[in-house]
Subunit: 467 residues, 2 copies
């Protein structure tokens, strides 16, 4: 492969691109924690300045009832196709903090990886897009299509107000294709593109017994214990033998895998051993009976417990019956499951399972629906050509286990097909301590995206109308 | 009833006695929290000064590998009986702090109750003993028997080093009877004495899956979730229908209730409605099938969950599979259960219940064995006469659901019978926010104890040997 003007520009700028990303990662833009509200705003302003610097011609902060988003555009010619880039500038919380080898907001480079909260998810991939635009504008003088950019400020806290934002700015956000870099490839030498995302439904279950903690000697054994009740409720949500979710109607709308799809999953060269090597030492691949690991992740719904708390968790012992115990639950959904319906069904199952002597309250919030883009869509194939050029091998097409609710919002509200070109790696530890982004993937991502816009512009070009 | 010299002394001094207790309660002597080590020491020094002021003639701090105890004595005549008073000057942790109406270490009087952490458990009852000694020494010039006092500094963190202390000071602590005020009466107008205490075994269970939190979209449904595994393990420890503990051999050594004992429990005038009224609004009396509430509390063993934690418990949602989840368990034991054996049996049941894909670690610590003192013991009957004099009605004899490990240590090491004369009330909220001690019970307690020493001295008097 010969170096092109774009590749040369990127190679020359790469150290600067890394330095800029380090600065961006220093901002602790944790959207789930209201204490970091000012940091999320500072992060938005940083993206806005970076977009203008990269070559976007208009940029502004869009306020929401929650944390601010950034919108930018460079409109070249109304006859050219238009693409919308989506990303997010907020990050996950950082606890447990003591498991980080270096501070989450003091980016550190070790062994070719950049360690920081948000490095891969999603600040690194947002900055990748800005640098690809910069490369095209500086090396070629202009973009081959119209580009719009929306960078959200609360993806990691559920994109609660993002649908309102989209609804209010439908015309401005409309485009021929949505491009999102917020996913991972199978491996450094096994490039892949994502063609499906799971949906999400979230619940918080609170079990209440006495109005205050009680002495376990004076009352234990004679009143219901909220932790015992919660454990019983949660344990009942999966079948202990098949690991299937027991909630009635949970699987009603799941589109079963065809033989062809199962063959396609089986063709992906990722065994359980390699999967577990990425899973932070989890001792075994465990999941729904009758499905492979990749099928469980890509094509089957799950019900997971994300947190649990109640009673005394400090040093020593405290002999109490706690007043309450609670847990956070999320369900990952596949086509054609409806997040609202699933949240209601799980809430009903939880309430129905409450043993005597406690009361149960369930808060539900429906996230996005599952999204699938056909592999043969022209924009997907255009991105695949750019990946092949930079990685030297054609990408696999995968369905991702994660959820990106905004992708579902754009799909439902604007009918936009989504090209999910993420440059993370499976061992990036997103959402966990010691998140990192490979600097090699960062560099390849910038080059791939710079080339991709030309491929996409050609693939989506409309026949010129005569004037 | 006519006022005696003792009653008159107590009545005249009561406001001062309350003021002194308020000062004692200001010391945050939380023994479970190492950060409060200096406060526990200050609390010990406060008791030492108070004992000397009250009339004890020798007093000293006894160091342990943990928090310090206080020893004091007033030896009148070797031919008189000797009693040992046991109490503790340390207190429970205070969380959840935001549920306290006034700060836990800023004592506040409302409606005749004194609110503070440790008010009833056990600082108020320790100070009651000091004031009863003061009344006897000041009003009568001398005690009717030899008195020893040991006030421990880590009862609320498991009395871990107290057995070593007793073993090292066996001769000094030897006495004809042990008197402990660390329990509650049935009600203000239903005085009672405690003749049985349950034993205790404690466990902490930690379930580990991956070495770090994992993204629930990228890994959920394909690796085991430690919260799900913990819920399954805990839920399996009780039968959901009978509420019996399912651990093999758990009930092997339980002495079954005789018909006479069941009749005696049934005679106690405390219905489930009144029980629930003390239970901070717990909605129902729930427990082991086949037993009444009072039988469950006094004569049956329990397995209770005191705390649970794992994953994300902050605001918003965090879509992770947590690396670990853990829970604290305590078992209340009845005669003839052995705490070490029960801890081992529960640990084995927990380990055996671990589902695939996680590892389980269990820390056990055995507390005291169950203790029972015969109702017709002369010292118990002597205390009953003092209670009758002050309360105007004879006490009921109860078995208490709680545990006081040091009582078991004295029983086992020195063969001392225990008189458990506590002046708390069931709604004192010990171990919970807004702990209080009734000032009326505090005053009655001081008068009862002052009279009790004369009754006990007479009851235990040995025939004088000729010289």
């Amino acid at each position: 492969m010969t170096a092109t003007d774009l590749d040369a520009y990127c190679a020359a700028g790469q150290d600067r691109f890394t330095g800029e990303l380090v600065e961006f990662l220093r901002i602790p833009s944790i959207s789930a924690d209201p204490a970091h509200g000012a940091d999320v705003r500072r992060s938005a302003e940083h993206v806005l300045a970076g977009a203008l610097e990269a070559g976007f011609t208009r940029a502004e902060i869009i306020e929401t009832a929650g944390n601010p988003s950034v919108y930018a555009e460079r409109m070249v010619d109304p006859s050219l196709p238009t693409a919308l880039i989506y990303g997010h500038h907020d990050v996950q919380p950082v606890d447990p903090l003591d498991e980080w080898h270096t501070a989450p907001f003091e980016p550190a480079i070790r062994g070719g990886d950049l360690f920081a909260r948000g490095a891969a998810d999603d600040k690194g991939q947002v900055w990748m897009h800005l640098k690809a635009v910069e490369a095209l504008v500086r090396a070629r003088g202009e973009l081959p299509l119209n580009l719009k950019l929306i960078v959200e400020g609360e993806e990691e806290s559920g994109s609660i107000y993002f649908e309102d934002l989209v609804a209010e700015h439908l015309d401005r956000l409309r485009a021929d294709v949505l491009v999102v870099s917020d996913t991972a490839m199978v491996g450094r030498d096994r490039p892949s593109l994502t063609t499906g995302l799971r949906g999400l439904a979230a619940l918080e279950v609170t079990v209440s017994g006495p109005g205050a903690d009680l002495h376990s000697g004076r009352f234990g054994g004679a009143v219901a214990n909220p932790i015992a009740a919660l454990a019983e409720i949660l344990a009942g949500l999966h079948d202990p033998v098949t690991n299937r979710v027991t909630v009635p109607h949970f699987y009603d709308d799941v589109r079963e895998l065809t033989d062809q799809e199962r063959t396609s999953f089986a063709a992906i060269p990722l065994g359980d051993g390699e999967f577990l090597a990425m899973a932070e030492g989890a001792p075994a691949a465990v999941g729904e009976a009758g499905f492979s690991t990749l099928e469980r992740l890509g094509a089957r719904p799950t019900l997971e417990f994300n947190g649990i708390w109640g009673g005394y968790a400090g040093p020593g012992s405290k002999t109490i019956i706690p007043a309450t115990a609670a847990a956070k639950i999320t369900c990952r959904l596949v086509a054609e499951q409806d997040p609202g319906r699933i949240a209601r069904e799980v809430a009903r199952a939880v309430t129905d399972a409450a043993p005597p002597g406690v009361s149960v309250e369930v808060d539900t919030s429906a996230g996005g629906r599952p999204v699938v883009t056909p592999v043969d869509h022209p924009a997907v194939q255009a991105m695949a050509r750019a990946v092949t050029r930079v990685f030297g091998t054609a990408p696999l097409f995968l369905r991702e286990g994660g959820s990106i609710p905004p992708v579902e919002i754009f799909s439902r509200r604007l009918g936009m097909p989504a090209v999910l070109a993420g440059f993370g790696l499976p061992d990036d530890r997103i959402h966990a301590p010691n998140e990192k982004f490979s600097l090699d993937m960062y560099a390849r991502g910038i080059r791939t995206l710079a080339h991709a816009w030309t491929e996409i512009a050609l693939a989506l070009a409309r026949p010129r109308s005569t004037v």
